[in-house]
Assembly symmetry: C2
């Protein structure tokens, strides 16, 4: 018996590759944390001391330039892996966007354990490759897309991850973050994001019942706006 047997992401996190005995060993290295919204789990430039799995909540990976401009590098959801194994420095901070639960491991211990468990490394490799694909796709958005395309693409991405259908058959979801977070993710300013969302609402492609809520009224049109 260990904490993993009741873990809600047991079947989706990289741990899924481990047999019971190995899971037990890993469980003994790990430690569960609760993180309050807004708190950081790791800091950019820190010695990369921990890695881990997200159990619950939403977090962001973020870096800042010397003069204080922020860029969010990605959003992290339950069952996603966080941190930088096999490397000494973290190139980004990890900050909780909502209250969150994570399961962390000391990096050195994790590295050693992983080297002895090829199945685990294989899972990690697959995840890392997928994450690389995702970040490259994001590079296209940041390098070549206009503000309206970025916002449309962002909303579709959220709809895919968080969307549920309402009684009218429209996709509905609650944004896990505020306008500043969206701006940091899209490489825009808060004002530009706000204007684009207003425009999408005026064009009746989406509705915004409240600050964080989004209802997608015309998905096809939104996809056209996103420029695939």
């Amino acid at each position: 018996m260990n904490a993993c047997t009741t873990c809600t992401v047991r079947e989706k996190a990289i741990c899924q590759s481990l047999c019971d005995a190995d899971l037990d060993a890993m469980s003994q290295m790990g430690r569960r944390h609760t993180i309050a919204r807004g708190e950081a789990l790791m800091w950019q430039g820190d010695k990369a001391m921990v890695v881990g799995n997200v159990i619950e909540g939403v977090l962001k990976m973020t870096t800042s330039t010397a003069d204080g401009r922020d860029q969010t590098l990605g959003i992290v959801y339950p069952s996603d892996f966080i941190g930088r194994p096999f490397g000494s420095k973290s190139s980004h901070s990890v900050v909780a966007l909502s209250d969150a639960k994570v399961c962390t491991f000391p990096r050195a211990a994790f590295d050693r354990f992983a080297q002895g468990h090829p199945e685990l490394e294989h899972k990690l490799l697959q995840r890392t490759l997928t994450e690389l694909d995702r970040s490259r796709q994001w590079m296209v958005l940041l390098g070549r897309k206009s503000a309206s395309e970025r916002v449309a693409a962002f909303l579709l991405d959220m709809a895919r991850r968080l969307g549920t259908e309402d009684s009218d058959g429209h996709v509905v979801f609650e944004l896990p973050f505020g306008r500043q977070d969206i701006a940091d993710l899209l490489g825009l300013t808060i004002e530009t994001v706000s204007r684009q969302i207003t425009k999408l609402r005026e064009d009746r492609m989406i509705a915004t019942p409240d600050r964080r809520g989004i209802i997608v009224l015309d998905r096809q049109w939104l996809e056209d706006c996103a420029g695939e």
Copy 2:
């Protein structure tokens, strides 16, 4: 005896992890290609059929949006790994910027081989993690930096990779590509790149002996311009 024994990247590519017997097995799956400048090795959207190592030359990874805007995702140098193992589709094209030599493997065969060779997968994981760090750093450039910062950062990156010292102690190098390639990499237009380079020359931070040649005259200043 096999082709690997004389391979110039033998000690740096992921193959370095293999013992002689395994190297021999891998060598039998592999095939050497020569690619002429401008030719593509893989196409975006293709079924990902091959992976491999760069032996010689410089290549770029690139994607285009539906309406034809290009974004370069990264530059690939000798000993770097190319292609997408453990996945069915390639999200980008790979195009030779100079005449190049590569050593390719059918993807399915490579995947099978890798799964049986944890040391190889470990090397691949480390490379992928490094590549992910790099692409995230590039996201900051694309999302938050001005045209002048991008060009300065780009030139410094090239100087680090390709630079040699001339008799005056200045870093000198030959760009492996033209202005359009630089623009695609930095998420700018060819005209903006040209203007920024002209400005750097007027400010005497660099000299441009010919189309492709760059001499860094004031590295410190250039680093300041790049915004770390």
